[in-house]
């Protein structure tokens, strides 16, 4: 082990050390303060003669007399199935008073990229029991589907509802032909959330017994910000181990990615880097991709990593670099909406800007139901039309609108109250979701359902012939 007492500069989260031996890029460092405290760090730049170190737990208390030990390896996460049921801090050390973790293996936390030829395309429907998701933004195993929210909105409740209710219905998993169903696990990573929010999660995990099959990483608001840059990597290293070596279907929840990005910005500023958009590092896209791309399935392996990262959009602005770069990487997004929330719609999901890009291959005959894709398309088109008319109705009033326009307005209202507003504890089967959708679509004349195959209209349209009394007789 190489040990130095040659700190030349301390600046924000960074420490510069003179060295006379080669130190590897990304190598892990322990810094011992004069008071005997140990701080963990990582080499950000390795030059001959000096290195720059990023200190995870903050640099306060470090002075030029502190000693710096280079551990000769990059950062590792000790992994074992025994992690299930445990609560760890943001750097992976237990904080639940339980026994020490005896690792089975130690994995590099910077995961290697999955070779695209080795991936298996995700197409196994996960039923979340939430109509707005199952019906119109379907989640599949191995997908990365973030929740775009903002401060003060119930995104945590939604994430918990999904974690509680998520199942893979019989038919969908039979298709795959795997006899022994793999087990389900949750790996939860908190980054900079408040203790109160953390309790909300922990209480729910404990109450529902989910904790036993969960691994929890907690970096709270008052924990060091720089530590947040390693937390998601610890989380995903654990998730990959459970999924690809122990056959679990792992659901990863990361909250709040906004705090993670703030930490990145802080380090960038300390290094005096040329900032990118709105002060965030120019490499933030690549950095986030290295997190989000660690979701998926691998050919020939049982398990899967499904990610639901949560982020709060600063100023409710979806063009802010954090949601923007995330949206460019993930496979869709679910928007939690302030207006719907204030109308007490629960969960307040705005489906229009929401999207699941992996939906098309995960739904349809034999997977969910034959009419699923068409129904979803038609719901989008009709709800968008109703939304447009709401703007108009504010100006001209309902009376000035045609009968057809009024139908779309009614549709939009009932769509929100009957399909979306199901409540935080209602778990709906996909059939139920689609049946409600047909109830709503049947408010519109059959001829307007131009996104839906004619045979499907015949089969599912509620009311059939009597809804069109005029036509035939008139002539």
């Amino acid at each position: 082990m190489k040990e130095y007492q040659t700190i030349t500069e301390i600046s924000g989260p960074l420490v510069f050390v003179e060295t006379d031996e080669p130190i590897g890029y990304d190598e892990i460092v322990d810094i011992e303060t004069p008071s005997g405290e140990i701080r963990r760090g990582q080499v950000l730049e390795a030059a001959s003669g000096y290195v720059a170190i990023q200190v995870f737990e903050g640099t306060d208390g470090i002075d030029q007399d502190s000693s710096v030990r280079f551990l000769g390896e990059t950062m590792k996460m000790p992994v074992t199935e025994e992690l299930l049921g445990r609560v760890l801090d943001g750097s992976g050390d237990p904080i639940d008073g339980g026994p020490d973790i005896v690792p089975e293996e130690r994995h590099d936390i910077v995961g290697a990229a999955i070779n695209p030829t080795a991936r298996e395309y995700p197409e196994e429907f996960i039923q979340t029991g939430v109509s707005a998701i199952d019906g119109m933004n379907t989640l599949v195993r191995g997908q990365k589907l973030p929740i775009f929210s903002a401060s003060g909105l119930p995104h945590n409740e939604l994430a918990l509802q999904i974690a509680r209710q998520a199942t893979v219905p019989e038919e969908a998993s039979d298709e795959e032909g795997d006899d022994e169903e793999s087990e389900f696990a949750v790996v939860f990573g908190a980054m900079g959330i408040t203790a109160e929010e953390a309790n909300e999660f922990m209480d729910d995990f404990e109450r529902t017994g989910a904790l036993e099959r969960s691994v929890v990483f907690m970096n709270l608001a008052d924990d060091p910000a720089v530590e947040r840059t390693v937390t998601p990597r610890m989380v995903l290293t654990t998730a990959e181990y459970l999924a690809f070596e122990k056959d679990y279907h792992v659901l990863v929840i990361l909250t709040d990615m906004t705090n993670y990005c703030e930490a990145l910005r802080e380090i960038g500023a300390a290094r005096e880097e040329v900032p990118g958009r709105r002060g965030y590092p120019g490499y933030m896209y690549t950095d986030l991709a290295q997190i989000y791309e660690r979701a998926g399935r691998i050919d020939g392996r049982e398990g899967s990593v499904t990610q639901i990262p949560i982020l709060t959009m600063p100023g409710d602005d979806e063009t802010h670099p954090i949601p923007d770069l995330t949206g460019y990487i993930t496979e869709g997004q679910i928007y939690v909406d302030r207006a719907l929330n204030s109308q007490d719609v629960s969960p307040p999901i705005n489906v229009l800007p929401s999207l699941s890009r992996l939906m098309d291959d995960g739904i349809g005959e034999g997977l969910t139901r034959e009419d699923h894709a068409d129904v979803s398309d038609q719901l989008y088109a009709a709800y968008a039309e109703g939304q447009d008319l709401r703007d108009l109705v504010n100006i001209v009033g309902r009376e000035a609108l045609s009968e057809s326009d009024n139908r779309y307005l009614d549709f939009a209202d009932r769509f929100e109250t009957e399909l979306i507003d199901q409540g935080g504890h209602t778990d709906r089967e996909i059939d139920e979701t689609l049946d409600i959708a047909w109830e709503l679509l049947s408010m519109l004349p059959e001829t307007e359902l131009n996104r839906i195959d004619e045979e499907l209209i015949e089969e599912y349209y509620v009311g059939g012939a009597e809804s069109e009394p005029v036509e035939a007789a008139a002539d």
Binding site: G24, D26, E45, S48, V110, N115, P116
Partner: protein
């Protein structure tokens, strides 16, 4: 870059001085700009990007964790090249042309580092059929023989550019590996099936011509309103989730190119997996053979090393040029050019270069135009004509087209397909905004469409454009007063325009029939809507109220033409127009 060149290592090795992410500096390295070097104990592949005195800066194509100062750097003395020869089709490469399936067999599901593999299989033998005889004169670019590379593509073995040429001294039919000599010339030059070419340099041609043939895409809004030429350039910018990738993939599947080079540049792993899964199953609409037989994929996903992302577009276009030299029409899709620009920005900022607009290097515009300049309709050295069409996706931050990558791209490309989040939200796909988009090839391609599809092609299209324009203006009024306040003729125009949008412009990429629409059918749908328009206005003239005209039950069936199988569409349209006519005429 291949192992085959590794032997030439010269004795100009250096020592690592510093490591910061993908950027490494070395001292005492005798190297030229753009030389490929092997970095560190593990021999990670890199490229020289700056030389200042004794210090050489290298961008490394692999992860650099644990690499330390003091480790060696070895120079190959060669620029970054690709291997060209049979075996590139039906293959997927990373950004520096390492075949991903070979890497998987060597290191498993996760991409490790320090592994190299030749771009084309050096052991495999191919049946070489001579195209010239002993005694024939050949020069650079000439075809000396052919190889059946895939069921779709006959690979032409060319005299490499830069060869002096001469009389053929020996040539023989038979089984050869790509490294064996298949032809010797009087000049002493030997021709093998494999050649190399530096990726950052365009391969030579005789001349560039004005494109006059469309790259028929099978997408109604593109062929119908904003056509791309064979040899043309197009940009498709749009916010996330607006349909760039779906459109690029539809083009890769259905465009009538001979060869498709699909470059996934800094995007999602699953999207590449989807292509790898789908293309071998899907038939090429032209030949009926599996699509993969005409396709070369390059995948440098967002989590793969950023320096290799910078080079992947060059690897792609060089491969495209090589097939162009054989006389093929090649289409190259790059998804997304913004990720490439960001890779430049990232490297540039690590070099502490003076940043230009939004942190991008000052040479951004130059790099973009150099790249798109490699597209075109060409006359090759061997007298054949070949083309490269380039379609670049652009991912503007916040969906704002005023940013540097979009703006600099628009200055170069001639076709602009603007994606619109508003259309995408209401699931109007492809979400291409018909007001903002344009194609500067439209006029030069009209003669082709009029000769091959219908003499009324451009006239009918103009009618559609006018109707959509009028709708746009009327919509502004509707937003203030409601539809019912408009006079009857304007309400009818809105109804016709709605059919144009829903029955013609919209196209579902996931519907088995609708995903590909031959230009004949594109025209049929349009004429059916036009027929409805003409009959409806005649009825209106005759005093029929607009509410009765728009509620005839034949009209909504216009929306069903798109999903009617291509060979039934003509009859369906004929029946439908008859029915519309009779239902409308019944009313007066």
């Amino acid at each position: 870059m291949s192992q085959a060149t590794q032997e030439q290592t010269v004795d100009d090795d250096g020592v690592i001085d510093s490591v910061s992410g993908p950027v490494v500096t070395a001292t005492d390295l005798g190297a030229r700009m753009n030389d490929v070097v092997y970095v560190g104990e593990e021999g990670l592949m890199g490229e020289v990007i700056e030389i200042e005195g004794n210090v050489t800066t290298i961008q490394v194509y692999e992860e650099t964790s644990d690499v330390a100062p003091g480790e060696p750097v070895e120079n190959t003395g060669e620029p970054l090249t690709v291997d060209l020869g049979p075996g590139m089709l039906d293959t997927i490469y990373d950004g520096v042309q390492r075949p991903l399936d070979v890497l998987e067999s060597q290191m498993g599901a996760f991409l490790d580092r320090g592994v190299d593999a030749p771009g084309i299989d050096l052991e495999k033998t191919w049946t070489f059929t001579p195209a010239v005889e002993e005694g024939d004169e050949v020069s650079a670019g000439d075809v000396v023989g052919t190889v059946d590379e895939t069921v779709s593509i006959e690979h032409k073995v060319l005299v490499p550019p830069g060869y002096e040429g001469g009389t053929v001294e020996s040539i023989e039919e038979g089984e050869f590996t790509v490294e064996e000599t298949v032809t010797t010339l009087s000049s002493g030059e030997e021709i093998k099936m494999r050649q190399e070419w530096p990726v950052r340099e365009a391969r030579p041609t005789v001349e560039k011509q004005t494109p006059t043939k469309p790259l028929v895409s099978g997408q109604r809004i593109l062929d119908g309103l904003f056509p791309l030429a064979k040899g043309g350039t197009a940009a498709i910018p749009g916010p996330f989730g607006s349909g760039k990738t779906v459109t690029q993939q539809s083009l890769a599947k259905f465009a009538d190119a001979d060869i498709v080079v699909y470059v996934g540049c800094g995007e999602r792993g699953n999207e590449m997996t989807e292509v790898i899964d789908d293309f071998p199953e899907l038939p090429d609409p032209q030949s009926g053979n599996p699509l993969m037989a005409r396709t070369c994929l390059i995948a440098n996903t967002s989590n793969m090393p950023v320096a290799a992302r910078e080079s992947c577009v060059y690897t792609g276009i060089t491969i495209a040029e090589y097939y162009r030299d054989m006389g093929y029409d090649v289409a190259l899709m790059a998804d997304s050019t913004s990720r490439w620009a960001e890779a430049m920005r990232e490297i540039s900022s690590r070099l502490e270069e003076m940043p230009g607009e939004e942190g991008y290097p000052a040479y951004l515009a130059a790099r973009l135009s150099e790249f798109y300049e490699r597209a075109g309709y060409f006359v090759n050295a061997n007298g054949t004509e070949g083309s490269i069409s380039v379609i670049g996706a652009v991912s503007p931050p916040g969906g704002d087209f005023s940013e540097p990558v979009t703006q600099n791209t628009l200055r170069i490309v001639k076709t602009f397909w603007a994606l619109d989040s508003d259309l995408a939200e209401r699931r109007h796909f492809p979400a291409i905004n018909w007001d903002e988009s344009y194609s500067l090839y439209r006029n030069q391609l009209d003669p082709w469409f009029e000769a091959e599809i219908d003499a009324d092609w451009s006239e009918t299209r103009q009618w559609a454009i006018d109707t959509l324009d009028e709708e746009g203006e009327l919509q502004e009024i509707v937003q203030l007063v409601g539809k019912d306040a408009l006079p009857d003729d304007q309400r009818l125009t809105l109804e016709v325009a709605r059919y144009l949008r829903e029955a013609w412009l919209q196209q579902n990429a996931f519907h088995d029939v609708d995903r590909y629409c031959p230009p004949e059918k594109t025209f049929q749908i349009l004429t059916a809507i036009k027929a409805f328009n003409d009959e409806a206005f005649a009825a209106l003239e005759a005093g029929v109220p607009v509410d009765e005209i728009t509620t005839i039950d034949a009209a909504p069936r216009l929306n069903r033409i798109a999903t009617t199988p291509d060979d039934e569409a003509e009859a369906f349209v004929a029946d439908l127009t008859d029915e519309i006519e009779s239902q409308l005429q019944e009313q007066y």
